[in-house]
């Protein structure tokens, strides 16, 4: 099977790998809405979606009722509805940009995933090889650059809708996303200061960041960086308590007020994909990626379980560890959503510019000095 795979044209290999990752990402967006409903229900002490089931599926013992109580068929009905219902386009919109905006939202969401490594295995030489679509040397910069294009989806949707509430949503989105990008970028710099020890070639690759976390995870001794990054991540993905662009209490639905059917659905798949990739990048930067525990790297686990010569199993194990950590952050996103009330808009701006940005700057200077003092001791 491996020989057959290697005999394929590299371009065909890349297309298959890309489609496989998209095939996981896209349904995951839908599954997230199910997780969101179940978690919100649990936090509010109600059962959540648990009724719908096709009659022929109810005959299946155990699995049928289990899936019914999980609400899986509500999700499927919802997805089906979004695809097949009438898609109204208001007469007052700018049609070109109105159709373009949801698509533009999906592009960065699915493009950033190419540079995020999601697992690793040991090759014949005993070296760790990342499982990633494109192992770029500029890794984190590519993630930041491409995901910063996500703002155009919100701006265009808000502007092309040509009515007041979407417009306000679009304006808010553009200001908020640019503001928090600064603190986000500054907060990861200490990590890369440590990874790029003197004498190295210099890299921004996320794979090397995980390699530097065989011992202590960065989240353990750079907690402030992790917290600033996490707060900025909430703002960048437009999640509560920062969902200013949407704000259904004051803006009806914000930028997507005029949208319906699958166009509306695409905005949500894009939002959930952003959450998934953001959580993944957080796990890679601060929580050791596919290393199961601090001071327990993946290669040690491979040695204990005698998996070193079975790349397939080790790859699956590493993907499992990485996805487990990432899913915890998806849960955290939803936990926070149902715990913390929404900020006012001026509070969001104050937090971004007057609190997070100076904090990130001070943090960077502190760690620059600390790393300059610590690194010579570790490298000998």
């Amino acid at each position: 099977m491996i020989e057959f795979w290697n005999s394929l044209h590299p371009l065909l290999q890349a297309v298959i790998k890309g489609l496989a990752v998209i095939g996981v990402m896209f349904p995951f967006g839908g599954a997230c809405s199910l997780i969101e409903r179940k978690i919100s229900a649990a936090m509010q002490g109600r059962p959540g979606p648990n009724r719908a089931i096709p009659f022929w599926f109810a005959w299946v013992p155990v699995i049928g009722p289990f899936l019914q109580r999980l609400g899986v068929f509500h999700l499927m009905a919802d997805g089906g509805k979004m695809f097949f219902k009438e898609d109204p386009v208001p007469g007052h919109v700018n049609k070109f940009y109105f159709y373009l905006a949801p698509v533009v939202g999906m592009i960065p969401a699915l493009t950033t995933v190419t540079v995020v490594p999601f697992g690793a295995y040991l090759n014949e030489a005993g070296q760790l090889v990342p499982l990633v679509l494109a192992n770029l040397d500029v890794g984190i910069l590519a993630v930041f650059a491409v995901s910063s294009l996500g703002v155009y989806s919100l701006i265009l949707a808000g502007w092309s809708s040509n009515s007041k509430y979407p417009f306000l949503g679009g304006i808010r989105a553009s200001a908020q996303l640019i503001s928090y990008e600064l603190s986000m970028t500054l907060s990861v710099l200490p990590v890369f200061l440590w990874v790029n020890a003197p004498g190295g070639e210099g890299t921004l690759s996320l794979f090397h960041v995980v390699g530097a976390q065989d011992g202590a995870w960065f989240g353990l001794w750079m907690p402030l960086c992790a917290i600033i990054f996490l707060v900025a991540l909430f703002a960048e993905t437009n999640r509560l308590p920062f969902d200013m662009a949407e704000g259904e209490a004051d803006l009806v639905g914000g930028f997507h007020t005029e949208y319906g059917a699958m166009k509306w659905g695409l905005f949500f798949v894009a939002e959930y994909s952003h959450m998934l990739i953001g959580s993944g990048v957080f796990v890679l930067l601060f929580l050791g990626g596919w290393n199961p525990l601090p001071w327990v790297p993946l290669s040690d686990v491979a040695a204990w379980l005698h998996l070193a010569d079975q790349p397939l199993l080790l790859g699956l194990l590493s993907i499992g560890i990485f996805l487990g950590k990432t899913l915890f952050f998806i849960f955290l996103f939803m936990w926070v959503r149902w715990t913390v009330p929404r900020f006012r808009y001026d509070q969001v701006m104050k937090l971004g510019w007057q609190k997070l940005l100076p904090l990130a700057l001070g943090n960077l200077i502190f760690y620059a000095i600390l790393i300059a003092w610590l690194q010579p001791k570790f490298s000998h």
């Binding site: 940009y97 910069l141 650059a145 910063s148 155009y152 679009g170 996303l177 210099g202």
Partner: protein
């Protein structure tokens, strides 16, 4: 392969740059600017400079054009609300054409283009950092200072200062 990509990307870049100038709708112009920058970033990738490409996307496409759009939307520049030609436009056009002519003349008449070396090592992050912190340290500092002055200027110009009793 890379020749075809070069042609596609350079045509995209130049055509979109032209559309930025020729478009009457300001939002369309900003979106064309975005595509032009994307084409430019693609050209940088073809030249084995992914760092430059992604910095270009991050700073210009991700933030600067978004701010352009932000301003365009706030000002509501509906097409036709401006006079197409003013006396200043003619002066600017003459000056621009003169600069372009000068550039073309100096390129064909005066420029000495050295032959491209057969193989150049792909620059790593370390090369970029070393250049910025040694050879080009002064320009970097000067540009940084210039940006700081511009930022302070914007704050001074845009903020309305009121006497304390007026503020109430």
């Amino acid at each position: 392969m890379s020749d075809t990509l070069f042609l596609i990307l350079s045509v995209l870049t130049v055509a979109m740059a032209l559309l930025v100038v020729l478009n009457k709708n300001a939002v369309n112009a900003a979106m064309c600017l975005l595509l032009s920058l994307a084409g430019l970033a693609g050209l940088f990738v073809l030249l084995d400079a992914p760092l430059l490409a992604f910095v270009l996307i991050l700073v210009y496409a991700g933030a600067v054009v978004a701010l352009f759009l932000f301003i365009i939307m706030l000002l509501d520049t509906t097409p036709g609300s401006f006079k197409p030609f003013k006396p200043l436009t003619i002066a600017a056009a003459v000056l621009g054409a003169a600069l372009l002519g000068l550039g073309i003349w100096s390129l064909f008449g005066r420029a000495v283009l050295p032959d491209a070396p057969a193989s150049v090592p792909v620059p790593t992050m370390k090369h970029h950092a070393e250049m910025l912190f040694t050879t080009y340290l002064l320009p970097v500092q000067v540009v940084g200072f210039l940006l700081l002055i511009a930022m302070l200027g914007v704050i001074v110009l845009s903020k309305k200062y009121t006497a304390p009793e007026d503020a109430k």
